[in-house]
Symmetry: C2
Subunit: 397 residues, 2 copies
C-alpha cells in the first residue's frame, strides 16, 4: 500500500541513518564508550552557552503569542533583516529581509528551492563525492541527478567533466562548501572557473542555471582557510544555510535561504519559496529558534575541539599508512580504503568502528569518518584503525 | 524560471495568507485595535505556563547535545512512548512508540503520510467545506483531490454522495475533526456510517482505503461534546495531530502521526513515514519542542476564552439576521453570506473586518470567521457586522 517511489526509498534507505541505528544498538550491547560511531554528522560539541541563555531570555521577556505563533511563511521580518545585515557586514553584500527565507534547516531549504524551480525531467548537476540526500531531494520533484566524477587528487571540482555535462536541461547545480564527505573547501580559483563556465553556458544555451550553494559547514574551517561567498561570483546563486553544525542545533531544524535580487526572476523565486515553505508542510521555520538565532548572530564558533580531533585522526591514519586528503573544513575525513570499501566497513565493525562507505557519496573506494565525536572516541578507536591497517597490508606487522 | 506547478500555486496562493498579510498592513495604517482580523487560525490565547516552564527546565537540566541534537527521524523514542501511553489512557487503545511518528506540525504529518502512500493519479476524497491546503498537499505527490459536496444542513458528512465517489483509484479519505472551517464535530453516528461504507467498499473493490483523520482541534470543543477516536472505528485510520492549537504553539511546528498496527502494511507504512520525514527535508520534528510537549501531556487546555468569543459572536450574528450552524469545536464560525461571498468580503473590509470567502474551502456562499482573537476584537467588530446586515437587508434599518 505504500507508493512505488517510496518502496525503493525504503529499501535503499540511507546507509548513514542505518549506521546510526546500528551504532545505538552496539552501544546498548557493549557500552557507549566501547563503540566508535563515526557515522553521523551529529555535533558532539554542545551549543554555545549563548543559545540556551537566549532561549530563556526570550521565554521570560517576550509575548508568548508572538514567540510561539504564526508569522509570514518566510519567517519573522526582523529576524530576516538581522540575518541580512549580518551577511552584509561579513561579505560586503547588499541584502535585505526580502532576500532571506527562513527554513527548516538546510534540508528544508534545499527542498523549498528545488520544489520552486524543478519541472519533471530537469537536470541537477552534483559533484562527487556528494551528500547522498541530494538524490532524494531532487527526486522528490521528479528532477534527474547528473553526477560529475570526483577529482581524486584533491576533491576540488572536476570542471572539465562538468562542462561536458551541462545541457539545455540543466536547471541547477548543487555544491556543498565545505564539502561533506571530503572536508574540502573550494578555492577561489575553483569558484572563479566554475562561474566562468556557468556564465558561458548560460549564454551559449540561452538558459538560466541556478547554482545552489549548500553551506551548513561554512563556519567550520581550519588553518585559516577562507570560504568564498558565492553570490559575489555568480549572479544566479542561491545559498542554503543551516545553524545545525555552527551552533550545534541539528535537531532544531533552523536555517535560511538567500535569494539575491541578481538571480533571474528573483521576485517570482522569492514568492515561490514562500509558497513552497507553506505547501510542503513546513509552514514556517520553528518560531522560537528563529528568534534565538537572531540573538546569536555574533557568537563565535569554537572549532578547537574538531580541529584537535582532525589533527589526531589525520596524523594517526597517515602514520598507519592510510591515504587521505587532509580536510580543511566540516568535520569529515574521506579515507581511501586499502580493500573494497564494503569489506573494510564490515571489518571495521569488528573493532566497533562505524564508518560510511564512499558509494553513499557516489565515490566508491573510500569511507567517510565523521569526527564530530569526543577526543576519547578518536583516541580509543586508533588501535582498531591500526589493526585494520595491518590486516589489509598498509602496515607491516 | 520557477516550475510550472509552482506558477499556478503562486498565482492562486492562499487567500488566507494573503488576508493575513493584508491585515498586518491595515493594522499599520489604522492601528491594530481598529482592525478586526478574523482571517488566520493563529491562537491569541498564550501557551499554558507549563510550556515555557518546561522549556526552561529542559534547557537548565538536560544535556545540550541531547536536547538540540539529531535523534531517529521518527523522533525521540521516550517522547513517542509517552505520547502513546497518554493516548492509550485517554482512548483505551494499545499503542506503543512504534505507532508514533513525530512531525513538523499536522501540515508536516499530512505531507509525510501522503508522500508515503500516493502514486500519481491516486484519488484522495475530502468533504466540503475543507481546509484548502489539502489540495496542495495532495498535489505535491500528483494525487487527485475528489470533493464531496457539503451537507449544508449541519455540515456533518454527506455520506450518500461520498459513497458514489469511491472508486478503485481511491487511496485515502481525509477528514478534519473538529472541522475547519465549520467548527462541526462529527457525531459517533456519522463516524459509524463512514466506517461502514469504507469497509464495504474495501471489500467490494478489493482495495485498501486509508482514512486520514486530521485532528489539530481535538482539544477545542464546547458544550461537553465528545470527539470520537477514529482508530477504534476503522482499522485503516491514520491520525494526524498537532499541538499548534491545543497548546497555542502554531509557529513551533510540532505534532505527530499515529500509524496503528491494524492498518494495512503497517510496518512498511511506519518505515515509509520515517524515510519521508527525512527526505522531504523535515529530518525530524524540532527536538526541544518534542521534549517540551512530552512534559505537557497532562496540561488541561482552557477553552474558556474561545467559548466566550463563540457565544458573543454567534448570538450577535444570529440577532443581526445571519444564518450559521453553531460550531461545537475549533475556533471557526462558518456564516452564510446574504450576498455573493466576494461582495460581502469586500464590503466587510470597509469596516476593517477581514474574513475568508467560503470558496477557499470549496463551499461558496459562506465566510469563515476565525474567532481565536481577543474578546475586545469580537466586541468592537460587532457594529461592523450589524451595518453589513443592514446594508444587505438582513436587518431593517
Amino acid at each position: 500500500m505504500i507508493s512505488e517511489k517510496m518502496k525503493s526509498f525504503v529499501e535503499g534507505s540511507s546507509v548513514i541513518r542505518a549506521m546510526f541505528e546500528e551504532g545505538k544498538k552496539l552501544a546498548n550491547e557493549y557500552g557507549a564508550d566501547k563503540v566508535y560511531d563515526f557515522s553521523l554528522g551529529n555535533p558532539n560539541v554542545p551549543a554555545p552557552v549563548e543559545v540556551n541563555q537566549a532561549i530563556k531570555d526570550i521565554v521570560d521577556s517576550e509575548d508568548s503569542v508572538l514567540i510561539h505563533g504564526y508569522m509570514s511563511n518566510s519567517g519573522y521580518e526582523e529576524v530576516r533583516k538581522a540575518i541580512a545585515e549580518n551577511i552584509n557586514k561579513r561579505f560586503e553584500t547588499n541584502f535585505d529581509e526580502t532576500n532571506i527565507v527562513m527554513t527548516v534547516g538546510a534540508a528544508g531549504g534545499l527542498n523549498v528551492i528545488l520544489k520552486s524551480i524543478l519541472n519533471p525531467g530537469d537536470e541537477v548537476i552534483v559533484f562527487a563525492p556528494y551528500f547522498g540526500e541530494y538524490r532524494s531531494y531532487v527526486g522528490n520533484y521528479d528532477g534527474e541527478i547528473v553526477v560529475v566524477p570526483a577529482d581524486l587528487r584533491d576533491f576540488q571540482l572536476n570542471l572539465a567533466e562538468f562542462e561536458k555535462l551541462i545541457t539545455v536541461k540543466t536547471k541547477a547545480v548543487i555544491i556543498n562548501n565545505p564539502n561533506n564527505p571530503s572536508g574540502t573547501v573550494y578555492s577561489e580559483q575553483t569558484i572563479l572557473e566554475l562561474s566562468k563556465i556557468l556564465n558561458q553556458k548560460q549564454e551559449e544555451l540561452g538558459t538560466d542555471i541556478y547554482l545552489i550553494s549548500d553551506e551548513p559547514y561554512r563556519e567550520l574551517v581550519y588553518d585559516g582557510v577562507e570560504v568564498v561567498y558565492l553570490p559575489k561570483y555568480y549572479d544566479n546563486t542561491i545559498v542554503g544555510y543551516s545553524y545545525s553544525k555552527s551552533l550545534s542545533l541539528p535537531g532544531e531544524r533552523i536555517g535560511y535561504l538567500v535569494i539575491p535580487d541578481e538571480a533571474t526572476d528573483s521576485e517570482q523565486l522569492k514568492a515561490a519559496a514562500n509558497v513552497a515553505t507553506r505547501i510542503l508542510g513546513f509552514v514556517n521555520a520553528p518560531s522560537l529558534m528563529q528568534r534565538v538565532i537572531a540573538k546569536c548572530l555574533e557568537v563565535e564558533v569554537d572549532v578547537t575541539p574538531y580541529n584537535r580531533n582532525r589533527e589526531l585522526l589525520y596524523n594517526s591514519l597517515v602514520e598507519y599508512g592510510y591515504e587521505c586528503v587532509k580536510p580543511q573544513g566540516a568535520f569529515y575525513m574521506f579515507v581511501k580504503t586499502p580493500v573494497g570499501e564494503n569489506i573494510f566497513v564490515q571489518a571495521a565493525k569488528k573493532y566497533h568502528i562505524l564508518v560510511v562507505p564512499g558509494s553513499s557519496f557516489a565515490c566508491p573506494g573510500y569511507v567517510r569518518i565523521a569526527y564530530c565525536v569526543s577526543y576519547d572516541t578518536i583516541k580509543n578507536s586508533l588501535p582498531g584503525f591500526q589493526e585494520l591497517a595491518k590486516q589489509f597490508g598498509l602496515m607491516i606487522e
